[in-house]
């Protein structure tokens, strides 16, 4: 019963395929812009913006609007809290799969 409680206590912010993929990408690199994330996730602009907003609200990512030369750039970066949450999420997934 306690292991079932562990599984249902999974991080709901990350336990959404699109957001899990976004955070996985940001965990592997330093930062990425909106265009790259959109291409990799295959999401529409609106959908991606919505997921990024949820991750930012949870404190897992920071979103920086900057410029690269004259081109505007929206840069996303994983916070230390986001890194820890992602690592915990992967451990939970691994335990869940091992238990099935």
């Amino acid at each position: 019963m306690s292991s079932l409680r562990d599984h249902t206590a999974i991080d709901r912010v990350l336990h959404e395929p699109a957001r899990a993929v976004i955070v996985a990408i940001l965990d592997a690199i330093e930062s990425a812009d909106f265009l790259y994330l959109q291409r990799e996730t295959g999401l529409t602009k609106g959908n991606l913006s919505s997921h990024l907003a949820k991750l930012e609200a949870a404190g897992y990512i920071t979103i920086e609007k900057t410029f690269r030369g004259k081109l505007p750039l929206t840069l996303c970066r994983l916070t230390p809290q986001g890194k820890q949450a992602f690592a915990r999420y992967r451990e939970q997934l691994a335990r869940f799969i091992a238990g099935t």
Partner: protein, 247 residues
């Protein structure tokens, strides 16, 4: 799900190579350098010296300018097309830790060869033989590095290049075997402080020429293959990103 996330992360790490520009620029440079070294080997003394200076300058210029050129090309072409990714910058301590095995290996080889030259006439012969085998060792190390890169990025073409580098190293080793017949104990019989006998100097020149030729072949073969694979990757990248709205 965890496997999917691992693959996603691998793709993110491989993005720096996705546009094929790294292989195109690096492969072209390596092939040109190899061709120059091969040409230098076939020229007379004064012309070879001039070309040697040019080659050394090109090597230095390439080491400095290639990373800058790549960054410039990606800023102009890749990032506006498919997005910008920044990679973590390693701290100096981490860089040192990663480079330590290569540094130690280079130091060990240098000490071994210097020690061999000083130790005895027989070990001096061995040190002379090492000249010719160095390019083969280079090929094996480059191949190992490329296989490691394939594990980190999931890019199959890195494994192809790694395999080719190792096969080339084996071929270079095989073609160097006949040169070992030139190494006779009389070549290094005298004291190290005495002037080098003419016969020894002639054999040294032959071995040096063979070493340069082997380095040239390694650069041309692996560089040329990298260029071809880079072009294939570039064509694929352009097809995959042709309908993306510019940033």
């Amino acid at each position: 799900m965890n496997d999917t996330l691992t693959q996603v992360q691998q793709r993110a790490r491989a993005y720096w190579f996705a546009d094929g520009l790294n292989e195109i620029v690096g492969g072209t440079f390596a092939a040109i350098l190899g061709a120059l070294i091969l040409l230098q080997n076939s020229l007379q003394s004064a012309q070879a010296d001039i070309l040697s200076t040019v080659t050394n300058m090109l090597l230095l210029a390439g080491a400095v300018s290639i990373p800058l050129l790549l960054r410039w090309m990606k800023e102009r072409v890749t990032y506006p097309r498919s997005g910008y990714v920044a990679y973590p910058q390693l701290k100096p301590a981490e860089r040192l830790k990663r480079g330590t095995p290569a540094i130690l290996l280079a130091l060990a080889l240098a000490v071994l060869i210097a020690g061999s030259i000083l130790a005895s006439p027989i070990t001096r012969l061995w040190a002379m033989a090492c000249l010719v085998w160095m390019p083969s060792l280079m090929g094996v190390l480059v191949g190992a590095g490329l296989f490691r890169s394939e594990r980190e990025t999931g890019l199959t073409r890195r494994a192809w290049l790694g395999g080719l580098s190792i096969l080339t190293a084996l071929w270079l080793g095989w073609r160097s075997f006949p040169l070992m017949n030139l190494l006779t104990p009389t070549l290094t019989a005298g004291r190290i402080t005495e002037p080098m006998p003419m016969q020894t100097a002639a054999v040294m020149r032959t071995l040096m020429a063979a070493m340069y030729a082997n380095v040239a072949f390694l650069l041309i073969i692996v560089g040329g293959a990298a260029l071809i694979l880079g072009v294939v990757a570039r064509v694929r990248y352009l097809k995959e990103t042709h309908n993306v709205e510019p940033a």
